[in-house]
Every structure is written in C-alpha cells, then in structure tokens.
Amino acid sequence: MNADPRDGDSRHVGRALERLEDERFLRGEGCFVADFVRPDVCHAVVVRSPVAAGRLRAIDTRAALALPGVLAVLTHADLARSGAGDRTIPIRVGALEGLERFLQPPLAHERVRYVGEPLAMVLAEDPYVAEDAADLVSAGIEPDDPVVTIADALEGARLAHPEVGTNVAAHHVAARGDADAAFARAEYTRRERFTCHRHSSVPLETRGLVAEWDAGAATLRVWGATKAPFFARRTLAAMLALEERQVEQIELDVGGSFGARGEFYPEDLLVPFAAMRIGRPVKWIEDRRENLIAMNHSREMTCELEIAARRDGTILALRGSLAADLGAYTRTTGGIVPAKAASFLPGPYAIEHVAIDVRAVVTNKTPCGTCRGPGRYEANFFRERLIDLMCADLALDPAEVRLRNLVPRDRMPYPTGRLVPYEAPGAYDSGDYPAVCREALERIGYAQLQARRGRLDEGRLHGVGIACFVDSSGGGPPEQARVRALGRGRFRLDSGASSSGQGQRTTYAQILADVLGVEPSAIDVHLGSTTGLSRGVGTFHGRGIVMGGSAVQRAGEAFVERLLDEAVRRSGESRSTLAFRAGDVVRHADASVVLSMEALVAARDAGDADAAALLDIEASHAQAGATFEYGTQVAHVAIDPGTWEIEVVRFLTVEDCGRVINPLVVHGQVIGASVQGLGGTLLEEFRYDEHGQMTSGSFADYLLPTSTDFPNVEGYSADHAPSPLNPLGAKGVGEGATGGVGGAIANAVADALRSYGICIVDLPITPDRLSALVRAARS
C-alpha cells in the first residue's frame, strides 16, 4: 500500500526520519506547562485530605487567608455558591452500568474518601507562599475505618460510599460460546487465583494547568490540555455553564502520559474556576508527592481463572471471575480496565468458549484509570501464567502449546464476540499470529536455551518465559485533520489528535508530505488544541496513527482533490491529463502549470474567499472497528538463589503494528513500552497500609526503572498484515509491548525456580517476595 495512490510515491512514509521536534527539546527550548507564563499570574496549591475515609465537618481557612500574599482559599462552598456545587466529573468512555453512582465532585464535601482527595485550593501571589498557606488550612475530619483491599470491598462490611449501599460499582458477565458445557467434557481443567498490583503511568512531568478568563472575549483559555482536549472542553463548559465555543483547551509540550495524563481531573475544573473567580490567570503545577497520590492509579485486580483443555494442550474454554479496584471514585475512563481485562483474557488464541464474571469495586484509595495497555497487561499475566501452569501439569512445551492455540492466519478476520458491554461485537482484523511467535522463539534461541532452563549456571538459575498478546487500537469516534496552504511552499496541519511524546509532529508530516509531494520540513504540525480545527478527539487507545494519521492522509487527499477539481473547472481540460505537484496543478505532458498555489495564496491574501476556501480543508477518518496489533514477548532471566535478585538477561518483543510510518519511532515505542512493563512487573508498586495511607509516595519508594536495570531489551517489527480498516494500513504500537511483560517475566521466573515447588501467581515479583515464597514452600 502506498501513501500516495496517484503516483505510487512513498518517499517519506516508512523512512527512519529523525524527528522534527527534537531540536527544541535538546536545546532546552521545549515549552511545558510549568514553563508557560501569563502576565499577572497567581499560583494555586491544592489542599488534600490526609485521611482515607471520614466525615468532613469543617474547613478552617482563616490562618491561611491571614498570610500576606494569599489571595483566596476556595472550598466546596465556593463551588456551591457558583451553582457548580452539585456537578461531578462525567465518564468519558467505559460507562458500565452502575458506575455513575460513584462520580467524583471536584472538591470534597461531607465525606472524604481517599488520601489526596482535594479539599480546597489556595491562591497566592507566589508559589512558595501558596504552599505555606496550604499547610495552614485545617480540615476537621472524623475518621472512619477505610475500605482498603479488593477483598474488603467485596466483603462489604465497610462501605466507601455508605449512601450507595454497596462497594460493587458495576457487575457484568463477558461471555461467548458455552463455557460450562466445554468444561463439563474437558480432559483437563485447572483453576488458579491471581493478583495484579497497583501501579501506574507516572509520567516524568507532573500535571499542571494555566487558566485565564478573557473577560473581553468572554473566553476561558486553558493551557496544559492533552490526550482528550475536546472532551475536556465539553466537560469544562458544561460544569461552568459556558458555551463550548467559550472554552479553548490548548496543548503545550507534554512530558509523557501513558494513559494517566489528560483525563479530566478535579483540578481541570478547579484551576479554570479559580481563574474566573479571581479575575487573574492561575497556574497550578503538581508536585511529585501530590502526583503519586492524585493522578490515576491503575492495574489493581484479582482474578480467579480456570482453563479447560485437551491433553495435547488445545485450549477449549476459559471461565472465572475478576474484580478490579476503581479506587474511591469512578474516573473519566469508567470501567475500561475491568471490561478490557475480561475481553482480552482469551488473548490471541482461538478459544471458543469464555465466561468471565466481572466486578468493579470501590475502595478508599486513589481513583484508578487507564495505564498503557489497560486491562491487557493484567489479563495477559493471568492467562499466560495459567497456560504455563497447564503446560507443567501436562508436561507440554509452552512454545508448542502457544503455537497450537494462536489464531491462525486463515481464520482472519477472527470474530471475538461481544465481550465488552459498551462496545459492538468485534473482530481481530488481520495478522499471522503464529509467525511472530515463531520469529520471537528463533530470535531468543529458544531451542538452544532448553538445556539451561531451571538449571544453575555460574551460581544463578536460568529461566525462559513466553507471552503472546493482542491489543486493540483506534475505532471509536472519528478523528479530524485540517490542511492549509501558508504560501512560499509551506503548509499548516492541525490535528485533533494530541501528542505526549509519540512523535506525531514528524510522522504526520511524513504522511502529509507524501500526499502533497513536499518535504516533511515544509509542514508545520499543530496538535491537540481545540483552537485549530472545528472538532477532534485526541490520542489514546492507539489512535495516534490509526485515527489521527489516517485523518491526515484523508485531509491531504481532499486538499489535492479539491485543487484538481478546480483546475478542471477553470481550464476545461480533462482530469486525467492533470497532476498535483507540490501545491501546483500541472499538465502531465509538459509540467506546465494550470493552477498555481502561489497565485491562489496571493488571491486569498487579497481577500478572495473562493481562493481561501480552496486552500483550507478539513477531513475526518472514521473507522468501523478497532485494529489489532499483536506480538510475542520472550524473557530470559537469571536468579541468584542467595539474594533472589532477578536479572533480565534478555527481553525481546516481535510485534506487528501493520504499516510502519517511521521505524525509529516504532522501535522507540516498543523498547519504551517493554521497559515500562518491566518496571511494573519487577519494581513499581503503590503500597497502602491498613489505614489507607499510601506508603510509596516518593521516587525513593515508588521505583521507576533506571538505565542500569534493564539494558538488554530488544524490539523487532514484523510485517505480515497491514490493517484493512484504514488508508494507511496502520495499527497501534504504543501499548502492546507493555501488555505481555508481566506474563513473560512471571513465566521465566517460574521456569527458573521450577525445582523449588513454588507457584507464582502474584505481581510484582521482587526478591523479598520470592524469598518468602521459597521459605513458605520449605516449611
């Protein structure tokens, strides 16, 4: 497939072009929200609940207000007086029935439900003074016993929302086929209980916003938007009773998202509200401790899963139940995590019968949202681990069993049924799943490693683990792009998609450059703001290239088509004799110009409305269903049986993301996603004590991977199957390689320790946990 259907030219798409945005960042000239200034700006600090559960009796702001330089302290009473007191933050996607009972108010009133819940916002002339004042705000809270664990929540002896009467926020069954009948006749079954621990995206830049009410234009401007800026505009306008056209959400440079950034949080209302209230621009920059207790957590889930198979390892059915912790409130991402976990439990395998009972529960902990590969990481761990336990029981080779069960190429598109209540029935679009698995096994040298598995080699035990994954991307609402000619051979592209570092300033320019026949450097790319085009969506669920890139392709094609039509109209010549060349319409025969872009630009600049319309076009890409990237990950680990230190000797991913726009960017996504998965599996955890206090509230406690932790990570792109669902043939690539890491590493560790009689069913995997498992097995 080519980017330019007219002449088959694909000079830029597919090339490892160095990124156009890099120079600014490398020179320290990025403009992140903390770098952004407005005249007369004042500074906000959020006062947060120090206890996990309790009745909020009063908030005393007098001492804070008495501090010189303090301008105001806003509480729920201020929201109530403005008429916004009853408004809660809505669900953006994943609205499982029942979740709407647990929405979050921007500021707590009557009850607090987690440590970190916003109670008040201090505004001061200086950020240091604002922090001083925040310390002086005292909240009278009568503490209650909190609901801390998923087990507490399911037991229901205490309630996170007593007025609702249950901790089970949503409950559904995800099923296809007839699992019980398949289990009844199966030669082999096994049931196991798994847990996945709480961790999350933790981007390196904390959140932040700058908001300004322009009274003259009656317009509210908010800088710091990303991910879903159009939803943020809609939500903010509704909560403040403004028209959507009165709100601008503007994206600056963004220091990573990985799911958690860019959702509509309490602060996304509070900062603009404060700016309107005080009549001055307001800036809020989250600190790290605050970030770790206030930004969405994710991944905490328990799962009881049972597999039914033939003795040869052919998987017949999966059934079981899972429960995901939503934390204290339903956030904008609703029930995505539990719903997608259930739907991805069958993974890339042809498993006909599935029945999963799904519960989303509320607790008194930080609310949860999505994190790179939401629900997939958890589900892949549960399933891949269970497959290896089955292989051990039946004395089968884990690689052979996977190859036997992966959806074969000739069954594509493979219908997956209706496993997600808020989505239509789906299908895996294309791919050769066994081929990528075989490639991964070859690359790791699976056959050669056999002799070392479970054996001591120079004092360490070696193990190999495999995980196969599939992950959805795109679909959902259409994405929009707008192309404008600027003159002097330059073009401006606005996309409704946003960027948090994925490189779309380059990849979009590559796509459009091929359509227009210009260099990528001739295109200025603007992303993720509501100001540049009439509508848009954003970047999440692998939409960046699949939806955003396809919209760029379509807008470029529409731009070209319109100019060709105009040239035919003006010249009376046949369309087939004309061609589009870098802005001009020329005759094929002698390259003479029929319609000159510079002449149109001059006419537009002189006020010609027809010329202006010709040089400015918006188009959208709609896609019926999701595309599915897929791959196999293999881990080789070595474990010191004295210290239980785990070294990842090698970790590799072979992944097919359809058509590759920029191999450098794709490789970067796969490596980065893998290391994030390794951090989540081996290092990172939001731990809580019995009082609901988070005990990993700094980077000394919440351990992110460093440069010395995982130096041997490899990523390879396979190219078996472009997606048939979009003009680029593209699939997502950002999330898949996080998804299988927990399963692959857990399987490798279990393989290394096979002689110890332990069963690894819980994440994270740390030296102290391994040591405890071995001690328990010995006693």
């Binding site: 160095e18 990124r19 945005e21 890099d22 120079e23 600014r24 960042f25 490398l26 020179r27 320290g28 000239e29 990025g30 403009c31 992140f32 903390a34 770098d35 240091y128 933790v202 981007p203 390196l204 830049e205 904390t206 440079d253 963004v254 220091g255 990573g256 990985f258 600190d287 790290r288 948090s500 570092g501 994925q502 490189g503 450098l664 960017v665 490789h667 970067g668 490596i671 980065g672 893998s674 290391v675 994030q676 700094s698 980077f699 000394a700 992110l704 991977p705 460093t706 440069s707 010395t708 995982f710 130096p711 990570v713």
Partner: protein
C-alpha cells in the same frame, strides 16, 4: 520572612547578581528569575535528575541546591551547552538515535552525558549506564540514550 540574600553567580558565562529569598532553590532561581526553563523539575527531591546542571563543571541537582549556596559559583545549564544555532555533536547523536520522546528528561540527560564525556571521553557502555543512572526517563527505556552517548564518545577525538 527571612532577609533576602545578595548573590553573584556566573550563569552560562555571564555574571548575574540577584537578591534571593534564603529558601529559593537554584532550580526555581534559574527557571523563574532567569527564565532558563530548560532545567526541568520532575520530582524536587533529588531522584529524577531532570534538573541536572553543572556546578563548577560537575553535574549537580538544581532542586537540591539553594540559590544562595551558589554565590560565587559557576553554573551551566542546557542553554549554556547548546550552540547558538542548531545542535551540538552530543545533541545530534540524541536525535539520530531517537533518544528522546516527550523531551522532558532530555536537558538533564544531555547535561549528565556532557559531564561524563568531559571526565571520561571514551567511556564503556557500563560507564555510560552508570553515569545516567540518576536520571529517570519514562519514555525511551534508556537504551537509545546509551546508544546516543556511546556514539558521541566514538566521535570524540582520541
């Protein structure tokens, strides 16, 4: 409020005199007072390294220093390590190897890498990994960053 302190520091080769609150961090002094916003703040507790600067030529964390402590000292920030136009050889290697995605950790990484190569022009891969082990990157998985620094070192004169 404590009395302001008069300081004189050399920042990127230029002498700067200022009157600062005792508690003002060097990072905030650079970012807010001098508008040198390439020095980023990722944690403000000395772990992430996004605020790495050179203090008298040695890599240091601007979030753990007070501006007042730097009186009489020489500070170099990412702005001071960048050529007037374009990119230094080290910065070009970062771009070539796709050693940045969101770009937030990047200035601190470049400063830390610069400090390493000043002291150890031909480091081993392990030395590079060690030298940037105090700088967190959430996007790249570090491997492209190590590749970039390795490449820059190979281009250095023997």
């Amino acid at each position: 409020m404590k009395q302001p302190i008069a300081i004189a520091v050399e920042v990127n080769g230029e002498r700067v005199e200022a009157s600062v609150e005792p508690r003002l961090t060097l990072a905030d002094f650079l970012r807010t007072h001098l508008r040198l916003t390439g020095t980023h703040l990722g944690c403000e507790h000395g772990v992430c390294g996004a605020c790495t600067i050179l203090l008298d030529g040695q890599a240091a964390r601007a979030c753990l220093l007070f501006a007042a402590q730097c009186d009489g000292h020489r500070i170099t920030t990412i702005e001071g390590l960048s050529p007037r136009k374009g990119l230094s050889a080290l910065q070009q290697c970062f771009r070539r190897h796709h050693a940045l995605q969101c770009g937030f950790c990047t200035p601190g990484m470049v400063v830390a890498a610069h400090a390493l190569l000043e002291e150890t022009p031909h480091p081993t891969r392990a030395q590079i990994e060690d030298a940037i082990s105090g700088n967190l990157c959430r996007c790249t998985g570090y491997i492209p960053i190590v590749d970039a620094i390795d490449d820059a070192a190979r281009g250095a004169p023997p």
